[in-house]
Symmetry: C2
Subunit: 367 residues, 2 copies
């Protein structure tokens, strides 16, 4: 592939130097930052996540902080999920939508206080979005991107590593709940969360000057557990059925199409953005849905850089939005965003670089 | 530097294959797309732009199309520049601001019809922004990103190349004006514009499947004029005093700070976003301004990947936002975003990787 040219527009993570020392090989841009994408041993990094524990620089998950008198009101206006029972120190996965019911990001919302929230965002500009809505509705809030950079510790041994550093209280933390803490004076929010289904935590570093120090603390505590560097893992996340906003979605995707209907509460107030449209979509039914795809053949295919058309009986019926070689299934698997007429079990053809590849549709997740 | 990992979230330009055949060496992410950043001969590519003519893949300058009954109204609401005299086929450089008067993008606005506009944007998400404002104000518009990808032809011989392809009528085109046309059936908007001060055109390709064909047509017509591949040129743009939004600006920069006050009309209607705040800023005066910097020494320094602090008398007074080796001036030059107390002619120190580099402030542009 190609090199990334430096620019002051593309920011570096507080963990950047640590990842360079670990031998990072590639990056992806994400929220105007560089996200590490591998350390040279894709299969080893995968199995480390499945069997042991991995350390990920996910500082690119930027926080959009909303604080002030109307912060709770704005958080609800932006989120088509009922937040009325969300308490301080609790996080919620939310599918932010625009006025047409199209999903524009799928952050974790962290309630820090009754008047202070973080949206820990995927790769789209929610800072501008939230400011536009707040200003147009005349709400009394401040919206900014604070100096906060998550470091993820993921895998079945993450509990042991994190308990070793912070104490056994972390074992009682429920999923998406968090607590403010520190280690060696480094200020943190410690949350049970992360973009894998292997369990783990995210340490929201609140002082960007101390990234390397935090990395090293976790690295050292993890040695007995075979910890090593990794990154949000394309194979594991597809096997596990996790969504990647902007990769698996297009400019018309609504939450019901991509298995996020459970995160939409249709009885929230009418002033919630997109809710009227979402009620209408729910009533009329969706035209597309997201299914799994298992391609024939037992040779790994290269990573996608574009969607592939899917055909059934000679007609285009959808797109393969992502695909990957599954180390557990020993098959190329992926996601289809496809007409609802096409069902689990059906065979289709995926058009990749002019070749028609037979594939079978299945339910998600794969593992 | 590091490799870019493929992802379906990072789109390729219609000219991608052509640039690969030309030997493109690196890319930058920009509006979720890959922008070529060089072909292996930085100095040769620079002088080609200054003396002859260069071909740039700037498909990353995406269009935010606003059409419908209220399109003109929305265009004005988003732009703190009086558009009342803007006619069809005319373009205008506009400094889009948020409600705090902070610049959020600096596109060229193209008026295609009374009810249809393109914002040809810099690197921030104006699609979401415009949709938020339109929906919150109940305007009757459709907002989308159409299949439109600019190809820039820049340099003193651009007129000859473009006239050779399209005819002498292009010589009468005024700056930022455009006309719909075609070549070999490829639909285009042809505009006199481009992100250099060397003159030239942008061909807004309106059929993404024909990028390579268009590239080759221009390449062939340009042979007698020493045409070759290039890209938005960091050296030329700094010498010429052009702004790079997001590189030279931060989350508090207003147009008056960065020499864009002439593009703000304070007497536009009150419903224009940010205008009340901009009037207030104008009245109170700015605290920072943008000046040129000439660093001591005659050895080229590496390209910036972060802002550098600027000190005067031991205190931080601003930031060096970008810098480059100037092939014409044989000095490292750059931009300072700096306290207004610091004036042209004054000496300061730029702190780069712990070293204090003496530098002199000057007026912009350099050339």
């Amino acid at each position: 592939m190609f090199e990334i040219t430096p620019t002051t527009r593309l920011r570096r993570s507080p963990f950047f130097n640590a990842t360079v020392k670990e031998g990072v090989k590639g990056f992806l841009p994400y929220n105007q930052m560089l996200m590490p994408t591998g350390y040279g041993d894709p299969e080893g990094e995968y199995w480390r996540l499945i069997n042991d524990v991995a350390l990920w620089d996910v500082a690119v998950e930027r926080q959009v902080e909303v604080c002030g008198r109307d912060a709770g009101k704005l958080a609800q206006i932006l989120s088509p999920r009922d937040l009325s029972k969300c308490v301080v120190n609790q996080g919620k996965y939310v599918a932010l939508c625009n006025h047409h019911g199209t999903i524009i990001n799928d952050p974790i919302l962290l309630k820090l206080a009754d008047d202070r929230f973080w949206f820990s965002i995927a790769d789209s500009n929610i800072l501008f979005w939230a400011r536009a809505i707040a200003a147009e509705r005349g709400l009394s809030v401040e919206i900014r991107e604070p100096d906060v950079s998550p470091l993820a510790i993921q895998g079945p041994k993450a509990d042991a590593v994190i308990a070793g550093i912070f104490g056994d209280w972390i074992l009682d933390l429920k999923y998406f709940w968090f607590r403010e803490t520190q280690i060696e004076g480094i200020p943190l929010m410690l949350a049970r969360s992360g973009w894998s289904k292997q369990g783990g935590f995210e340490l929201y570093l609140m002082d960007g000057s101390r990234g390397e120090q935090l990395w090293n603390i976790v690295r050292e505590a993890g040695q007995p557990y075979n910890i090593g560097p990794g990154n949000p893992n394309m194979c594991e996340r597809i096997e596990s059925g996790l969504i990647s906003w902007g990769s698996d979605t297009d400019d018309e995707t609504n939450p019901f199409e991509i298995r996020l209907g459970n995160y939409v509460d249709l009885d929230v107030d009418d002033d919630v953005i997109g809710i009227k449209k979402l009620r209408q979509i729910k009533k009329q039914g969706v035209k597309r849905h997201q299914l799994g795809l298992v391609l024939e053949g037992d040779q790994p295919m290269p990573v996608h850089s574009t969607w592939y058309d899917i055909y059934a009986d000679g007609s285009k019926v959808g797109s393969m939005t992502n695909g990957v070689w599954s180390y557990r299934l020993k098959r190329n698997i992926g996601y289809a965003l496809i007409a609802t007429e096409i069902k689990v079990g059906q065979m289709v053809e995926v058009c990749k670089d002019g070749q028609m590849l037979p594939a079978k549709l299945c339910a998600l997740p794969f593992c």
